[in-house]
């Protein structure tokens, strides 16, 4: 087992990883920018190294500085968290080249799954269901027309190197396709320096359902159930739940087994998430995240498995020690991402936290790096807390979430707590009837009303 782990991240996830390390008897090294000298992850870590100025590109994305920090503190391993360098294959390679362990999958796997085209090809070869579409990239408008005709309109054109909605265009017919194809190529070139695009069937009201996998270095893979992350605004997840209210037991077991076998086949190790779109009872592979995710706590609550601990354990070379049949999924968990934003306009609201009072009691978990008097820096993302509740049933979890949101007090900055309170009062949400477009429509409806 590692003696000392450097945590190459900030905020709540740095704290989450710190906690897992402390609970395993591992010493921690925090890294931070000059803007984060007072941050909670810096205060709690055994050692802290300032790696650069406030802009992330010079600090949290500064590969050389982070590896130097690991070397001068004598860390054995680096945990990248999520975001920043967590899916950067070059960084993972550099970590290994310096004789340290990268807590994540192999650089090769990160690279394969980080490219949409090779990821899709890999998924197909491993037996994962994919959205019907082009075989790899499409170079000409004519080729695009042929593909679109075959899979049927509407179709979507996506940048091969893309993400975050950039370079994505929908076409409902051939006329629209011509314009969409050219626009997508230009956007892809601008945003990613690479104009390769591919075409897929466009799903109209899918849910976003993702499956958590955990694998050791010896071929044992377990699936830890799914998360429904359909509540999104501008491709950002807002509230997640596990299990998905859309799946029954046999659908769940089916997709878990498909994913587990696929991961065995590709020889995946460490932690990963397969994201699917789900529509009319069918799953379509969207992408794979080769890292820990923001919403991992809801999976921890329903499986009783400490995911970050397991991730560190398998990275150190330990075998999982259990198999799929030992995994039990019970109860229901919901996570709300609480951002320092205006709950109507979503304008970020960095500033000084006044009173910070978190809800407590049975099956309420708060993952946050905030504290009273802390100044939320304007340089990074606006999430200030994750509120996670567990209940024996979905309704019990919802009732608990309602009371926990009422107890949460954050003064000094605006937060999205009122948004979550509105969402969980909505009958569609209560009934589990939502898809990836639901939240944007809900916000539109509420705007019209007020």
């Amino acid at each position: 087992m590692f003696e000392k782990v450097l945590i190459a991240n900030r905020g709540e996830i740095a704290l989450r990883i710190h906690r897992a390390c402390k609970e395993m008897g591992i010493k921690t090294v925090a890294i931070h920018s000059t803007a984060d000298a007072d941050a909670m992850h810096v205060r709690l870590a055994d050692e802290a190294v300032c790696v650069g100025p406030a802009p992330a590109r010079d600090s949290y994305l500064n590969k050389a500085a982070i590896i130097s920090a690991a070397l001068i503190t004598g860390a054995d391993a680096i945990h990248p968290g999520y975001g920043f360098l967590s899916e950067n294959a070059d960084f993972a390679e550099m970590v290994e080249a310096h004789g340290l362990t990268f807590i994540g999958p192999t650089p090769k796997m990160i690279r394969t799954m980080g490219d949409k085209v090779t990821a899709k090809a890999t998924a197909i070869a491993a037996g994962l269901p994919v959205v019907p579409g082009s075989d790899g990239d499409v170079r000409t408008v004519d080729a695009a027309k042929i593909v679109a005709e075959k899979i049927g309109y509407p179709v979507i054109i996506k940048a091969a190197a893309g993400g975050g909605g950039k370079g994505m265009k929908v076409a409902n017919n051939e006329t629209e396709l011509v314009e969409a194809f050219n626009l997508a190529k230009i956007e892809a070139k601008t945003a990613f320096g690479n104009d390769m695009v591919y075409i897929e069937k466009y799903l109209q009201t899918p849910r976003h359902i993702e499956v958590q996998v955990l694998a050791d270095n010896y071929g044992t893979v377990v699936c830890l159930g799914e998360r429904d992350c359909s509540l999104q605004r501008k491709h950002q997840k807002v509230l997640e739940e596990s299990p998905s209210p859309a799946l029954n037991k046999s659908q769940r077991e089916h997709i878990m087994e498909v994913v587990r076998k696929a991961m065995e086949k590709i020889g995946y190790s460490n932690l990963g998430t397969i994201e699917f779109l789900y529509e009319n009872g069918e799953f379509y592979f969207l992408e794979m995240n080769t890292r820990l995710q923001v919403e991992h706590p809801i999976t921890e609550m329903v499986t009783g498995i400490d995911i970050v601990r397991e991730q560190i354990r398998v990275a150190s070379g330990a075998p999982l020690g259990y198999t799929q049949k030992d995994v039990r999924i019970e109860g229901h968990a919901i996570e709300c991402r609480i951002n320092a934003e205006n709950p109507e306009t979503f304008i970020p609201c960095p500033g000084k936290i006044g009173c910070w009072h978190t809800p407590g009691g049975l099956w309420v978990r708060v993952d946050s790096a905030m504290y009273s008097g802390y100044r939320v820096p304007p340089h990074y993302d606006s999430m200030v807390a994750k509120l996670i509740v567990f209940g024996r049933t979905r309704n019990a979890a919802l009732m608990r979430l309602r009371r926990a949101l009422e107890e949460f007090v954050i003064e000094g900055v605006e937060t999205t707590i009122p948004l979550h309170q509105r969402i969980i009062k909505d009958f569609d949400f209560i009934d589990g009837q939502y898809n990836i477009h639901w939240l944007e429509k809900f916000l539109e409806r509420n705007k019209v009303k007020s």
């Binding site: 000059t34 300032c50 050389a64 500085a65 130097s68 001068i72 006044g354 009173c355 008097g373």
Partner: protein, 149 residues
């Protein structure tokens, strides 16, 4: 209770005015005094009521000190994380010593990071007043290395 240490408060108040400070907090084993200047109220944009709570781990209290505080302009700080070397190799003399006059662009030390040695150069002319690090020790970004005057 003993008498109020009026002298201490007066001294602090004078210090407050003299140094144009907003407040002074003075604490010793069994005594703690805090004086705050009356000054114009700065209205924070935050909520009406700010809790008096300090941060979970109290930040180091800035203490009014008679020792001359080095102004930041005089410090040469590390531009990167790494290991600092004051000479090109263990048998060579230091690049600079206390009392040396240095000119802009002159190498003051090396920082080893990722197996490369990066020279840290003086930005402007000055006299080396203090060397704050030992050769061969790790430094973090922004860590003061030298004081020039």
């Amino acid at each position: 209770m003993e008498n109020i240490n009026k002298k201490a408060i007066s001294e602090l108040a004078e210090l407050l005015e003299k140094h144009q400070l907003k407040e002074i907090e003075y604490e010793m084993s069994d005594i703690r005094i805090r004086v705050v200047a009356k000054g114009p109220e700065v209205i924070p944009p935050g909520p009406a009521v700010l809790p008096p709570a300090p941060a979970p781990i109290p930040e180091p209290v800035s203490v009014v000190s008679t020792a001359p505080i080095a102004t930041k302009e005089n410090q040469v700080k590390s531009p990167m994380v790494g290991v600092v070397y004051l000479s090109s190799d263990p048998n060579s003399p230091n690049f600079v010593n206390v009392g040396d006059m240095v000119g802009p662009g002159q190498t003051l030390c090396l920082i080893e990071a990722m197996k490369t040695f990066n020279p840290v150069k003086a930005e402007k002319a000055g006299k080396i007043k203090q060397i704050l690090v030992e050769s061969g020790t790790p430094v973090e970004f922004n860590e003061p290395l030298f004081i020039l005057e």
